[in-house]
Each structure stands twice: as C-alpha cells, then as structure tokens.
Amino acid sequence: MASLPENDTDFHAARRASDHESFLVHRRMRWAKVAGALCLSAFLGYFLIDQQPRPNGGSWYGYTLGTIGLGLIVWLSLLGVRKRNMSEGRWSLKAWTSAHVYLGLSLIVIGTLHTGFQLGWNVHTLAWALMMLVIVSGLYGVAVYVLLPGQLSANRKETTRAQMIAALAAIDRQLKHAAQPLGREQSDLVIAALEQDVFGGGAWARLTGRYPNCATRRALCGLPDDFRTMADNTGPEERVRVLLRRRDAQLGQIRRHLRLKALLEVWLFVHIPATIALLAALFAHVTSVFYYW
C-alpha cells in the first residue's frame, strides 16, 4: 500500500531497542546462560576433581570457589551504587539487574559447593546462611517484580498518587459540607471518618491492605440504606451516603496502591541489611581463615 522513507527506521534500529524486553529475558537470557555455565562447571569441578582429604573450603578448589563467590558478592552489592550513580556511558541498568539476578542465583551453587557441605555453628556458616537469606529475599523480589506491576498499573487507572490524594481531599470537602444537616449521631460518624488517619494501622495493615478500624466503613454501616423511605432518596442523608461510598472507593484505590508498592519494596528491608551483614560476616570469615591458616 505504501512506502516508508527508509532512513529514519534504519537509524533508530542501529541505535536502540524498539520493544519492551524484561530484565529476565534481557538479550535472549544472556546472563542466565552465563550463570548456568558457571554453575555447571562448578559442579563438574566438584565431582571430577579429587579433593583431599575431602571437599572443603580450604582445598585449592575450595579456595577457587570461595574467591569467585567473594568477587561475585562484592560486585553484586555494587548494584546499589550503580543504580544511583547516573554517569555517562553505554551501560544499562537493566543489563546490570539481569546479571545481578542470575549471577546472584548461581551463588547458591558456588557458595554451597565452597562449604563442601560442612555446616556448623560458626562464623563461616553464618556467612553462608546470610548469603542464602539475601538470595531468598531476592527471589521474592524477582517474583513480585514479575507479578505485581500489572496490578499496580490496573489499579492506578491513569491517576497519579497526587491526583488520588487530591480526589480524596475533594470528596472530604464535599462531605463536610453535605453532612451539616445530619443529626448528632450521624454527623459524629462522618466527623470520625473525616478525622481518622486513613492510612494509619502500621506495617501489617499496609502489607495486607486490611484496615479493620476504618471509620468510613463504620459510618457507612451507621447510615444504612432505608428502603422503606425510597421516596426520599435525594435528601441530605442520601447525599452523604453517596459521598461516603465514593470516599470508601477512593480509599480502597489508594490503599491498594500503597499495598502493592509496599509489597514491591518490603523485601529490600531484608535484602539490603542482610547484604551489609553478609559483607561483615564475609570479612570475619576471610580474616579468621587466614589468621588460622
């Protein structure tokens, strides 16, 4: 039907990607392949090399695995710096994340083979355990990064956080106005709803999205639809009821947003402190190993 001018598309194709590609499948899973190869060779080495007297972190092969593992851990922890340091150059944070995920997973194999399965109650095993904790928390992170963004987007419905808050404030203003003609008992319910810290309830409420003490809900229960007085459904009570329902829906959207954001971020509160603890434990592990050589 038609011909395109060729020059533009050629130019862009040469320069950058034209489609969305997740960090998990970045460059046809290049880093998954690298990490897989690393694990495979570590396994082969472990079973083919005759380690005397038994597989151990102190054999030459154990030292090799330990050095690789240490190098990887230090490099993996540098993602936090890379992410914040917006320097020039042809790097992409997506490639870093991809490598971080797959090489991090390969540490399960490398680190565990390095122990020679000699676990005990000591600083060495502490380092291994911390490493596993970091990896498991990271796995949770990968899982929520895959599962939740779609829900976050669907819940947002093109509104920004600021707009959601502004919409709530607008409903509150209308509610205040509309509740003036109500009786004492009912206006107390509305006042309680308006005065409540709607996002309070602590970390648990944030993560589960359950707010059992929600005063807006209570106010809705306190102003039930009275079907016997259907004729009078334009009165002040009905207006307040409509506004309360709207407020409830708006709160629901904001709370779902906060919940999803919290689920997307909560693992970092384990992942990062555990990484710092791991680096400290590794320092102790390496120092003690060399001290008691």
């Binding site: 038609a2 598309t9 194709a13 914040r84 963004p149 209308q174």
Partner: protein, 833 residues
C-alpha cells in the same frame, strides 16, 4: 484645533518609549500615547519579581533609555525615572480608535474623544491586543472589568465571570476560593463544553461546582448588564440574577485589524464595512504570522506611518528599543544611520570570500537567490540575522544523509551536487546558483534524505527553521518556488536514481498540495479512484477491514508515498488511508504517474517488486485473522491509542510497559541527575492503555508546537533529532503554553548537590534525583545568586554518551524511547504470533 506634533508615538512599550526618548533628546515636538495609566503595559503585567532578560547579548543597545537584564520592578523603575528625566511628553489613558489624514497632517482620535495632530505617526503597540468587550448593553453604574489583579479584594459581592477560557476559570476559582469572602460567583459559558480551557482547570472548576462554592452556567450569554443585576440568556429562557460586578475574560483581539484600518478608505461590502483594497497599512500576506510591509526606514504602505517593535516582527526588547531610536533618527533626516545590527551582519559576512561590504552582500543575495526576489531589504536584513552564511570549498560536504536539520539552504554563488544513491556517491544530481536545498527537512521535520556536496566553491545561506517559515509565510513568491522545488525533489528521491527533473516535470505541474484534517480519509478501501499521494508533512495510518473490524496495518511518516498499487494493477483500493494528525499531502494524478512508469521500465520493475512485498503483508494479516483475532485487535487498538495521544507527530517517544514498571522512579531520578538537578519527565502522569503508558515527556514532534512562538528563537532541533532549548531562553513561558502535551516546565536551575559518595557515607544533601523544592530554595538562597526561571524540557540526553538516561536507568526494561513508525510496525504483529 489640537496642537500639532512633529511625531505621535502610539504605545509606550520598549519600542515606543525609546522612540519618544530619542525625540525628546533631539528636541522634536512629540507625544507618547499610552492606553493604560502606566508605561509599558505588557511588562507591567508580568508577575511580580519576574526576571526580564536581555537577549541577544551580541546586539548592542542603542537608545536614550537604559535596559539591562533584571527584575521587572527594576526595569520599570529605570524606565519611569528616565522617561521623566528626558521630559518625554506622555498622554496616559488614551487609547487610539482611529487615525486619518496623510503625511504631514495626521489626526489621531482616542476612544474618549481626545484628538492629537501629528506630521508623522510611529505605531509601536506590540502584539498583545485589546480584550474583547462585552457586546450587550451596559447600564449606568454597572461595573464591568476586563482584568482581575487581586481576587482577595472583593467581599460580599455577587460577581459574574463571563468567558470560560483558562483566564475566566482561574478568576472565578480565585474569587470563590475563600468562603470567608462570602462572594457569590457565577461563571457564564456560551457553549456546553469548555473547549478552550485546560483539562485540569475544567476539572477543578467542576469540583468547586459540586461543592456548591460557585455556579457554572453553560449555554448562556449575557443579554444586559445593569447596576446590581445581570440578565442572562439561557437555554431555558431569560434569567435575571443579582450582580455587583462583571469580569469579562473573552480573549483579546489581535491588533492587526486596527493597523490595517490606519488611513484606510472604507466601503460597504455585503452589508459590512470593508477596507478598500490598496488603502491602509498593508500586510505581506493574509497569514496569521504576517507582518506589515515596511521600507528600510520602517515606513508602512501609508507614507508617514511607521511600524516598529513586536508588531513589525521584532519581539525582543533590545531590537524594539534600537528601532525606536532608529525610526526617530530617520524621521529627523538622518539617512546615513546604519542599523544597530550592522556589526553583527559584518561579523557574519566576514567569513565569506571577496571582502565585500554588508550592503554588497545583501544586494548579491537579493539578486541571485530566487526565493529572495520579492523580499524587501529590511526583511532580508532581518532574515540574515536569523541565518548563517557559509563558504564551502569544492568537494566539501554541506550536510550528510541522516543528519538532522530543519534549516533550508539557498545558493548565492556556485553549485552543489546531491548524492542520490547512498551506495554510490559518484551519482549526483546538480543544484545550481540561486536555487535552494534542504527544504525537505524544513517541511517534513525529518532527517536529511541525501548527502550534499559543494560542486565548486559555494557561498550559501542557511536559513534557520524560524527564518525560513517566516519567509514562506510573508512572501508568496518564495512560498510558491519552495513548494514546486520540494515536490520535484520528493518525486526524484522517491523513485531513486535514473530520473531527471525533465522526466518528472509533467507530474510536478499536475501535482497538487492538499491539507487534510486529523482523521480525514484520503483513500477509502474498495474505492476505484486512481491517484498517488506523498505525505509532505504530518503522518498517515493505513487500515484494512478484516472480519468486520478495522485492523491497523501501518503508520506512514512524512516522506512516505501511498496509493500506487491501485494505479499499477487497476484493482480497487485494498486498504484505507487516513490522516493521523493534521497533515499536508501531495496528490499526483494516476495517469501522469502511469505515463512516468511507462517511459521508465526500470522504475516500473522496482514499483512492481515493492508492491509484491506489501501484498505479502496484506495476505499475511488476512490469513491470520482467525488464528490471532485478539492479537490483531490488541495491535490495532494499541496503535489507535498511541495515535490518539499525539504519537502521529512524534519522532521519538518514551513508552513505559506497565507490566514491567515497578514504580521506582529511577527514570525521573536519572533524568534530574543528568540535567542540572531537574527532572524533565513525569512518569506517573499521562495516558495508559492496556498497560502501555505514555508518560509526560517530550515526543520531539516533527513540527514542534513549542518552537512556534519563541522570541529569542532558543528552541531548535539538534543533531540527533532532539528538540532542545538553548541558554538564550528568556523564560517567557510561551513554549510551555504552546505545548499540547504539557512536557515543558518553568523552573530555576538549582545549585549543585553534594556528591553521591558524600550522601552515601555521610548523608549530606538530598540524595539522588530531583531535590525537593524546599532544599532547592534554601540552597539557592545560601548561594545568593539570582537564578531566573527558564523553560526546561527533554533534550533526549544529547551529548551524553549512552543515550537517554531514563532508558539506561530503568532496572526492569519497562522504559524505551522509540520512533513511532518502528513501534507501530507489522513486525510486532508477527512476533505476537
């Protein structure tokens, strides 16, 4: 009989003020006529404390009044003081309604009936215009005002705001915002919707209405205003409501009609008063951007009436002030005065061979170059200020294929060769002296299509986009010449090498440039019309009816051609083509096209093979319609969503896949850290469809709206296609208002933050990303340097190795920047499979 002055100057802005001061200094009898009760109304109306800039810095100021960059108050104080010092004769509160008479004896009448007589008139009224007045009868004692300075001033009043544009809505909301004022505010809108206002303002207005804080009346007009009462004409009949004050915000009329009516003869035409052709001050064309025709001494087509300043096409303060000085010097008989820009032009022309004077070069340009032939010397001078002159040695590359550039070149001396075949640079098509090249980039806003080399030593003028567009809008001759040349070139480029301009001449003669509205169908599927079209500017989308649904087939940017299949095979149209945005297309009659193919067997073969591949795509889509109906729907709807969101005019757009976006805002942080600490994108804002999100971020439009009205011409297109704002920005905010996508912000560049290491280790500074406003304010105060607010927008990270920071900094791959035709290609559909 009023006193006769040597010169009457209308308007006390920078141009008028400078003219009056010069007249006072020369001892000429003069009067400076100002409609307001203060000098320089446009700058007076700037917000308090606004930093007024003095660009271009290379231009020397030649005026009896001082001017330097600084706060609005400082500038106005200086002018007020010096106007008094020069004993300028100012008539305030005098709005001129008509000017009659002739050179030597003009009669100027104000609205209030005062009269002035003057031998010459200088019109320096700027382009701000006057507010449209209410047309209904206004009774004695009724208060009608056209401006609202402080909404907090009025209490306990019934106020009616007429006009529901942004100004009216903002005024109404301001008046109703504080319930303590107890005002009853009504806003009256003539139509049912708020078409001219920003969506955010309309939403806020509706919210206030819902809260009962103000009253919105739609489909209503005022029919009479009396003291304490207004009569409204509503859909349900006449309504009278109490009203102590009317605030009318119904836009303003550009001053052009007034200027055209100066000394004009009027006649009755179809019952309306019309100007007799050839009388009054004439403009160069009916185009909205046209300026009055002026002589080198700023004299209009009415002898004795001079036009200077923004109205004459010079929006910058320094230009205006220099012209004020110059026009009075000319009137005083100084014929040797060189314009103040002479040194700038001399410096520009110094690089040209032959050691000629500025006047010599201007004469050569005017004589040799086809498109300058009906351009006045004054206009040519102005054009040269916005342009570059170049001397190229034989064999030198002037620009290369795929370079970006929206400038147009004119050859003053010598000739160039166009490398039509990128694979074989030895095949060239010559372009001779007096002609132009580079016009495709100007018209379509796309990359250069071919490399151009100087064939012999060449002197060429490079007209910036703004200069070239101004020329085309004001000179019909230049516009015709450029249109013809560009059609011919587009044909030659489209059909590749082997054709000469003689071959395509009949087709060029029969070609027709057509304007199409967004959404207008150019070709209807199944039709048996037989024309071929080229997209000149804008873009098209191709759709096909499959299984009862419109399926999006492809997106055609400027430079594409379509419609040739039906011509070649004689079959009905196989798909529909409609405009994605307002576009310009060239229609070529089908028989002319066939004749061209018949005489060029090679060309025919190529056209046939091109056609075969497109048939394949059609067949592919057709064959899969059952197996992936939902994928096809998805693809079509995604394409439609993107087109609805202005992708049709984009060259490069940030798209976020919200199935991947975790909302970390690292894109915004990276943007801020790469550009002076301010983010140029808003990730969350913007439209979303099926998890595909178009955030608020510049799309680098083919014909950027922001460029339309930039006084210092600070917005340009860079080497990677990016539209950027350079350091000459004066912070006027025009681009922000003109951008339909809201991607430009006005802000002061904050001081540098402490380094990342300092933040990581010691917690110093606000950390990565844009610092909060409070921190920026505090840091700027601590620094003690005044930083003006300037326009800030995405520059696609030009000059930063690695490309756009937002994309590089995305940890999950959710963000990409992409050209629309690349994203909207059928390849996506194949990959869905």
């Amino acid at each position: 009989m009023p006193e006769a002055f040597q010169v009457a100057i209308i308007g006390s802005g920078p141009a008028g003020l400078s003219a009056a001061a010069r007249a006072a200094a020369l001892g000429m009898s003069h009067v400076l006529i100002e409609k307001a009760d203060h000098l320089s109304d446009t700058i007076f109306k700037y917000q308090k404390g606004k930093h007024v800039m003095a660009t271009p810095s290379s231009l020397v100021l030649r005026s009896d009044i001082d001017f330097d960059a600084g706060k609005r108050e400082f500038v106005l104080d200086t002018w007020n003081e010096q106007t008094d010092g020069h004993k300028v004769n100012v008539a305030y509160n005098a709005e001129i309604a008509s000017i009659t008479g002739e050179k030597g004896d003009f009669l100027l009448k104000t609205k209030s009936g005062t009269e002035f007589r003057a031998a010459s008139v200088v019109v320096a009224i700027g382009t701000q215009g006057n507010p449209n007045l209410v047309r209904c009868p206004v009774g004695e004692g009724a208060v009608v005002q056209y401006q609202l300075d402080d909404p907090g001033e009025y209490i306990d009043e019934h106020i009616v705001v007429i006009g529901a544009g942004d100004a009216g809505i903002e005024n109404a909301m301001g008046l109703a915002s504080d319930p303590q004022q107890r005002n009853t505010v009504t806003i009256v809108n003539r139509s049912a919707d708020f078409a001219t206002a920003k969506a955010a303002n309309v939403a806020a207005l509706r919210a206030m209405e819902a809260e009962g804080r103000l009253i919105v009346r739609i489909e209503t007009t005022a029919s009479a205003i009396d003291k304490g009462e207004i009569t409204l004409d509503t859909r349900d009949g006449e309504v009278k409501i109490p009203c102590d004050r009317v605030i009318a915000r119904m836009g303003s009329a550009p001053p052009r009609a007034f200027v055209e009516g100066i000394c004009a003869k009027f006649e009755e035409k179809d019952g309306k008063k019309a100007i007799v052709a050839g009388t009054g001050v004439q403009f160069t064309s009916p185009d909205r951007v046209a300026y009055p025709k002026l002589s080198p001494t700023f004299e209009s087509t009415v002898p004795g009436v001079h036009v200077i300043g923004a109205l004459a096409g010079y929006p910058l303060i320094k230009h205006c002030m220099n012209q004020g000085y110059d026009v009075i010097e000319f009137l005083n008989g100084n014929r040797d005065l060189k314009p103040a820009d002479e040194p700038i032009l001399a410096a520009k022309f110094a690089r040209l061979p032959g050691n000629r004077s500025v006047d010599d070069w201007l004469a050569i340009f005017g004589q040799n170059i086809l498109i300058f032939q009906d351009v006045s010397p004054l206009q040519l001078r102005e054009l040269m200020l916005d342009s570059q002159v170049h001397a190229f040695a034989a064999g030198e590359v002037i620009f290369a294929r795929n370079d970006t550039g929206s400038s147009m070149f004119a050859i003053a001396q010598g000739s160039v060769g166009v490398e039509v075949n990128p694979d074989d640079p030895s095949i060239t098509v010559p372009i001779g002296q007096g002609s132009i090249f580079g016009e495709v980039g100007l018209i379509s806003g796309r990359r250069r299509g071919a490399t151009i080399r100087a064939a012999e030593p060449v002197v060429a003028i490079e007209l910036s986009r703004t200069a070239a567009l101004k020329l085309l809008a004001t000179s019909p001759g230049a516009s015709r010449a450029v249109t013809r040349i560009s059609i011919e070139r587009q044909l030659l480029q489209m059909f590749g090498s082997g054709l000469t301009s003689q071959d395509v001449a009949p087709l060029v003669d029969s070609a027709e440039v057509m304007q199409v509205r967004a959404g207008e169908v150019v070709i209807a599927e199944g039709g048996d019309d037989k024309d071929v079209f080229i997209v000149r500017r804008g873009s098209m989308i191709v759709e096909k009816q499959i299984g009862g649904r419109q399926v999006f087939l492809s997106y055609l940017p400027a430079g594409s051609y379509f419609g040739e299949m039906a011509v070649i095979d004689g079959a009905p149209r196989s798909a529909s083509v409609k405009a994605a945005i307002k576009s310009e297309i060239i229609r070529l009659p089908g028989d002319g096209f066939m004749a061209l193919l018949a005489s060029n067997p090679k060309l025919r073969e190529r056209a046939l093979s091109d056609m075969a591949s497109r048939r394949e795509v059609n067949a592919f889509v057709e064959s899969r319609k059952n197996s992936f109906g939902s994928a096809v729907d998805m693809y079509s709807e995604t394409a439609q969503f993107l087109v609805d969101n202005g992708i049709g005019e984009a060259t490069d757009v940030l798209l976020i896949d919200e199935k991947l976006c975790v909302g970390c805002d690292n894109c915004e942080k990276a943007c801020a850290d790469s550009h002076d600490g301010l983010s140029r994108l808003d990730r969350e804002a913007g439209r979303t469809w099926a998890h595909l999100h178009v955030p608020t971020s510049c799309r680098h439009c083919e014909h950027p709206h922001c460029m339309a009205d930039c006084p210092p011409d600070a917005i340009r297109r860079g080497p990677d296609g990016e539209v950027f704002i350079d350091e000459t920005c004066i912070g006027c905010g025009n681009c922000q208002r003109n951008c339909p996508y809201g991607v430009i912000r006005m802000d002061a560049r904050p001081p540098a933050k402490p380094s990342l290491i300092q933040w990581l280790l010691f917690g110093r500074g606000p950390g990565p990303g844009e610092a909060p406003y409070a921190w920026r304010k505090k840091a700027a105060e601590a620094e003690g340097v005044e930083r003006p607010k300037v326009a800030i927008k995405c520059d696609m990270c030009a000059g930063i190795e690695g490309g756009p920071a937002c994309v590089r900094a995305c940890p999950t791959g959710a963000a990409i920047r992409v050209a629309p035709e690349k994203f909207l290609s059928i390849a996506r559909l194949e990959s869905v499979e």
